[in-house]
Amino acid sequence: MTESPPPVVEMRGISLAFPGVKALQDVDFRLFPGEVHALMGENGAGKSTLIKTLTGVHRPDAGQVVLAGEDVAFSSPGEAQHAGISTVYQEVNLCANLTVAENILLGREPRRLGGIDFPAMRRRAAEVLARIGVHIDPASSLSEHPIAVQQLVAIARAIAVDCSVLVLDEPTSSLDAGEVAELFRIMRVLRDEGVAILFVSHFLDQVYEISDRMTVLRNGTLVGEHLTADVDRRSLIAQMIGRDLGTLEAIEDAAEKRRPGGPALVRAEGLGKRGAIEPFDLDIRAGEVVGLAGLLGSGRTELARLLFGADRADSGRLLVDGAPLRLRGPRSAIAAGIAFSSEDRKGEGLVADLSIRDNLVLAMQAARGWTRPLPRRTKDHLVEKYLKALDIRPANPDALVRTLSGGNQQKVLLARWLVTEPRLLILDEPTRGIDIGAKAQIQQLVTTLAAEGTAILFISAELEEVVRIADRIVVLRDRRKIAELDGAVTGVDEVVELIAGGAAPEKVVS
């Protein structure tokens, strides 16, 4: 992009401290009209804080924010929005019990005769939705829609007003490939209209595909600002984490060395649930990593939930060690040594207002029952062990989980299950929305656990990750298991082709 127009946003010397943490230190940031600007950094690097400083959620302790040549100090997100800065945050921040149209136009409803003009509201909402190619009924309740659609509604809400700056904090983390492509198309349209777009994503492919310029943060300080074309991935990652990619390669080697055999630890025979996933057969052996690949909505999570008893199957049966197991709920699965780490960390995983310690021991304590509390010393020992083993920060057992970054929250959730020493660990999107350093640590952990004999069912939207980690890959499409591939000899392209609907025959590993 040309350098000629003055930046629409300029932040100079921004510093911000929270109790005990210097979140931002003397950070400069520029955003030009008509560009997509990627904000890069690990979790906890200060990306979200910088965004929230721009959008009026936080006030900087020092430094100034200049918007279109004028000094501004927003004291609320509303003021920032009024000044033309629209934001879509990482977590969907909408009202689930309102309709889609109400969510899109909340606070700026078209009015007539002192009341809300609902027909006009639905029309306007439909227009905005059509602009981003989402065809849902504006009068339907938001909660009826899956999380991916809710995310698109959040984006529709952001672009429903004329904005000069659009901030997208991890907008793609719950979107599948098609939806991402659609989002990028919209982003390009808006960019060409002169909107400055600030984009945060952990998917490097996406960053390279869409962004024109990037700013890299590490530990709350500015590392550099580059044109995307000027910096290759390796040096970008090095800037973000200050480490090389050796760890990632080591994981790949480990996956190739493992060749687990033996009888199935967990076997599903015709297990299925109407409307969720068609009956499927699946064997998972001890020490094996089975990857689940498929688009969002292909039944990945649904399959996992059946294995864990989170939902009840209406056909087929589950065998553990060859003996049938009737799952009446998560408790019976846990008792059989099955653990399930949900993709929805906030909603189904962690108990945000409790401490790291309480979250870590929750599953084990629940299994013991309330009358047999874990002795304080055992608890402290476990907590200390896993804080260290998983490098959870802050290493303060009393810190509320709510205050941790995404990657650290994920590690706490993982640790909760590791404490129970599961025989089968189901990981649903364990690396989504977390930084590359934590991601590598979690992948490393998966291979280590498998080497120690734990069976792992690994679900991820990132096919590269699934292919790299898994010994066997189960491919799902349209709520049906369509193939089972040998992880060692399968490439991403082959999986993509199956997912995309190439009429590939059922292929089973011997």
Binding site: F308, D353, A366
Partner: protein, 327 residues
Amino acid sequence: MKNRLLWPLLALVALLLLNLAVTPSFFALRMQDGHLYGGLVDVLKNGAPTLLIALGMTLVIATRGIDLSVGAVAAIAGAVTCVHIGTSGSAATAFAGMALALVLCAVLGLWNGFLVAGLGIQPIIATLVLMTAGRGVAMLVTEGQIVTVNNTAYRQVGAGFVVLPVSILIALLVLGLVAFATRRTALGMLIEAVGVNPEASRLAGVRSRTIIWTVYVFAAVCAGIAGLMISSNVSAADANNAGLWIEMDAILAVVIGGTSLAGGRYSLTGTLIGALIIQTLTTTVYTIGVAPEVTLVFKAIVVIAVCLVQAPKARAALSFRKVAVPS
């Protein structure tokens, strides 16, 4: 934790000092026939039923619930016991009547738990059913009359003394038991987990339903004991007025004590302080001679003040540390 209780504690102290200023002998304690009397003892004694009910309410609120039926349950407990005792003066009959009443209360708690945990009805609606119907049940039991009894054993519960009034001892005993049962076992942590995030707790293997069920039964039993105290104190069962609006006082006590209505973290100590504030307030109204027609307004003002000083926003507005950064 400590900090959270600071403001309610200050409010309590301020109220007590106000009483002292008006009635110089307010803090005085005297022994008479082995019984302890004094203004502070009165506050504790009269506050015992509210404290008991607030304890049950604390755990219910911690699971994101609320129990509006406690007042009605208290009335039923008194009614059942008094009707069972009838004209009998024997201690055995009194104890049998009380046991019968408490078992019945536990059953009513099971009913609430069934509606909330079993059927998934919103707690405020589910317990509203019993709040309304419960008084009717109490009326049926007493056949619409105020049933008076003359039973020394029964009278001990609400009006007896073992140095201190028995009702205070009972309330403190229950407080101690709850504190022990929730903090020395894992129950407290599991209750909080269920309150903060029921689905995550279920997926972590917590028996969320059982826990919710348990707290409603506990709340009903607490209400039952409180009902026995109220009825025993006057040796009568008044289906219409016993424990009337006590659920509101109990909810207030819990909230003043710093437990959020949104569920999750709770504080039993906070509830104790909250209940004492509510009761001291009632006492204060009498001692400083607030006109009866403005009594409720006076109470409301104090409650609002206590709630405000706990609200982060109001506190930020009051403090001068945070000066706006000029642009």
